[in-house]
């Protein structure tokens, strides 16, 4: 029997990995991928607590998180395409204009 704290620890490691990715990478697309890692870590947490505390609510919320991630990816990638078309680099530290 795997203890609940093992799942929570795995999810914490994944979350911090995603957080570090958001902080250190320059490419906007990789930053969005790191956000997906963080959302997945939250999902592991939700499902693990749902299993060990015997309630279905965690799995429902995890499904909602997946739907939100899909919307976030669609809008984020659309923004990247617009920025790239404006001949601005997709590095986050060089994007400093709201309008051009």
């Amino acid at each position: 029997m795997v203890p609940l704290s093992a799942y929570v620890a795995v999810s914490a490691i994944l979350f911090v990995t995603g957080l570090v990715g958001v902080l250190i990478r320059r490419n906007f697309i990789i930053v969005l991928m790191s956000v997906e890692i963080m959302l997945n870590a939250a999902n592991i947490n939700l499902v693990a607590f749902s299993h060990y505390l015997e309630s279905m609510t965690g799995q429902i919320i995890a499904l909602f998180v997946i739907a939100i991630a899909a919307g976030e990816a669609a809008v984020g990638l659309a923004i990247i395409i617009v920025v790239f078309r404006g001949k601005i680099s997709t590095n986050v530290d060089e994007m400093n204009l709201l309008k051009w």
């Binding site: 093992a6 799942y7 250190i24 999902n43």
Partner: protein, 173 residues
């Protein structure tokens, strides 16, 4: 058997997560993210969440990741000489410190709480999809509809943002 699979899936997902953050070529990062998503789906199976396993593989690995790879190929980004932030060492150190602290804290915590109404035996009798469906379309019907409206808004937003500017738009600017 379950601890063996747990160790495999968790170690592989952590390795894939680190590769996603660390690899230089963005397409390789996308493929590492695919490995991460599939191994997290394996963790869901260990937790008796078969419906979420299917949703993870279909929606995340099937749709979202293909969207990422599609945009990467479309933009044809070349991997930069300097792909990390200038002060990445500070962030890396802070991340490792926070990670160690959290793991120490979580591994020592007992995590008790009030039990819900869906023990594993009751879920396994009808299947996980059945249990999720009953809950989703009774108690969580309003959030479900709100997510539907949210996805519609996301679709419209993406189309409006990414549409090719026509001649009239260019003149108006």
């Amino acid at each position: 058997m379950i601890p063996v699979f747990f160790v495999y899936f968790s170690v592989m997902s952590i390795l894939a997560g680190i590769l996603t953050v660390a690899l230089r070529n963005p397409v390789h990062c996308g493929l590492a993210l695919l490995a991460l998503l599939l191994h997290v789906a394996g963790l869901f199976v260990l937790l008796n969440a078969e419906f979420l396993f299917a949703a993870q593989v279909i929606v995340y690995a099937g749709a979202i990741l293909v969207l990422y790879l599609f945009v990467l190929m479309l933009l044809n980004l070349k991997s930069d000489e300097r792909y990390l932030h200038t002060r990445y060492a500070v962030m890396l150190f802070a991340g490792v410190a926070i990670c160690g602290e959290l793991v120490l804290l979580f591994l020592r915590s007992p995590f008790h709480g009030a039990r819900g109404d869906a023990p594993a035996s009751a879920v396994l009798k009808e299947g996980d999809s059945y249990a999720v469906g009953i809950k989703m379309f009774s108690e969580y019907l309003l959030p479900f509809e709100i997510v539907g409206v949210f996805l519609l808004g996301a679709i419209i937003g993406a189309i409006v943002l990414a549409k090719t500017p026509t001649a009239a738009d260019v003149e108006a600017e």
